[in-house]
Amino acid sequence: MPPAEAALAADGLTKRYGAVRALEELSLRVEQGEVFGFLGPNGAGKTTTIRLLLGLLAPSGGRATVLGQPVTLGGAAWRSAVGYLPGEVAFWPQLSGERTLDFLARLSRREPADRPRLLDRLGLDAATLRRPVRTYSDGMRQKLGIVQALQCSPRLAFLDEPTKGLDPLVQQAFYEIVADARRRGTTVFVSSHVLTEVQRLCDRVAMLRAGRLVFAGDVADLRRSERRRVTASFSADVDAHAFAHFGELVASAPREIVLLVPQEELPALVARLGMLPLADLVVEAPSLEEAFLERYR
């Protein structure tokens, strides 16, 4: 059976600005119905990637498909099935929220069927929507941005830093919106700095560093692939340096050692520790944040 059509696929996607390499040879595949996290520090190329996938930028090399259609500059029809929340969302200050949503829905050529539900969840009431957007706070603008991206029930949503400026209660509401979208089969591509958010929302993640992909896979795989933090306490003094070959010795005291150990070294380490007067042993899987930092060290 042929593999199902990917929601989006990039093959060697590259963007250069003169000598500056904003994105280098990115190859990526996101399946339909996935919530995909896109991680990386500022300037890593996350927003450039999204803009290339939307056809807002012309690639310097490589190609991409979105919903099975090749990405080109201009007005391809697949865009009617795509929602986009820019990282720095901006609106027309003199237009009301309602007019803004109506205008953007008309351009999408789809009924904004999900708008009432989204407005309700995010707490944007009718009175607020009648006001010009220039009177909105940053948080309200961000909520309006989320609504415009998702109001027409897109098959694929690109959300660039979606929880920026939202208070914790609204963030919670946003997570429920994404969970709901996932249940209905929407593919969500989330760029974020907030690791707990990605850990909570996403099935798979990709990590970018200086325009290059450094990891793509399951969140669980990412954590699994990182070194474990092993803290061993002893009832007698031990020579900490005898363990250095198992991994990286982070801290040592006469009766305690802390090591970062690759997963495959764990059995041998545990066997070695068992020969010593072991009092306590703690093996910790890295948090996503630690995995992230480890990748960018």
Partner: protein
Amino acid sequence: MSIGTLIAHLWRRHRGALLLLVAGNAVFHWAITRVVPAASESGLVHDLLAMLPAPVRVLIGEDLVANLSARGFLAFGWVHPFPLLLLGVWAVRVSAGSLAAEVGRGTMDLIASRPVARSAQVAAAALAVVAGLTLIASAGWGGTALGLQTRVLEGVRARDLLPVAGMALLLFTSAGSVALFVSAVCREGGTAVSWGAGLLAGSYVLDYLARVWSAIAFLRPLSLFRYYEPQRILREGIASQDVAVLACVGAMGLVLAFAAFARRDL
């Protein structure tokens, strides 16, 4: 469909300014009909104009000074800097505001990520520029017509001024399409306004200097204003060569705007 939606959007954003420009041009041309010297005063006004320095006489029209008439005076209303400014403001404002300003503000992302062809965005901007210019120029002619309803000037009919209004529309349509090309390549609205307004003002100044300074007279054909002379239009009718030049510049600006905007990064 997208073009209609985009034009409606531009109308919502610029309607306040358009109404002011329309009203301003109508009132200005109506006021001109009020101040046209009566036949009994024309000798005195002619003497006063003849005393002006030569460069100023060039600015208001040598023909007007030499053969002061009500028709010539009304034609002067169409080269006065005020109505030219009103038409120029619209041409540059909408051209810059519909492409470069959207890119600079970040709102272009919301439009361009939807199924809207880039050519539709340029077409909508061009149509909005022309529609607004038509309204402003028509309002100017309407002001003249209204004024002539209440003040009868011998030998002057409002419809004589229609070709002048038409050429003013063509002149600023050409200027607007050049401004649209500038907007299609700029990243900020302010930059596009500066370049668009600068090119328009430069063209006006070049035409004026080339008329008063014979050493650079050969540069005059480079100015769009060379092809717009209301007093000559009233005297001899519209020159097809002038129409051709302005139409070609307009078409070239539009083609370049389409081509540049279709290929650029947003």
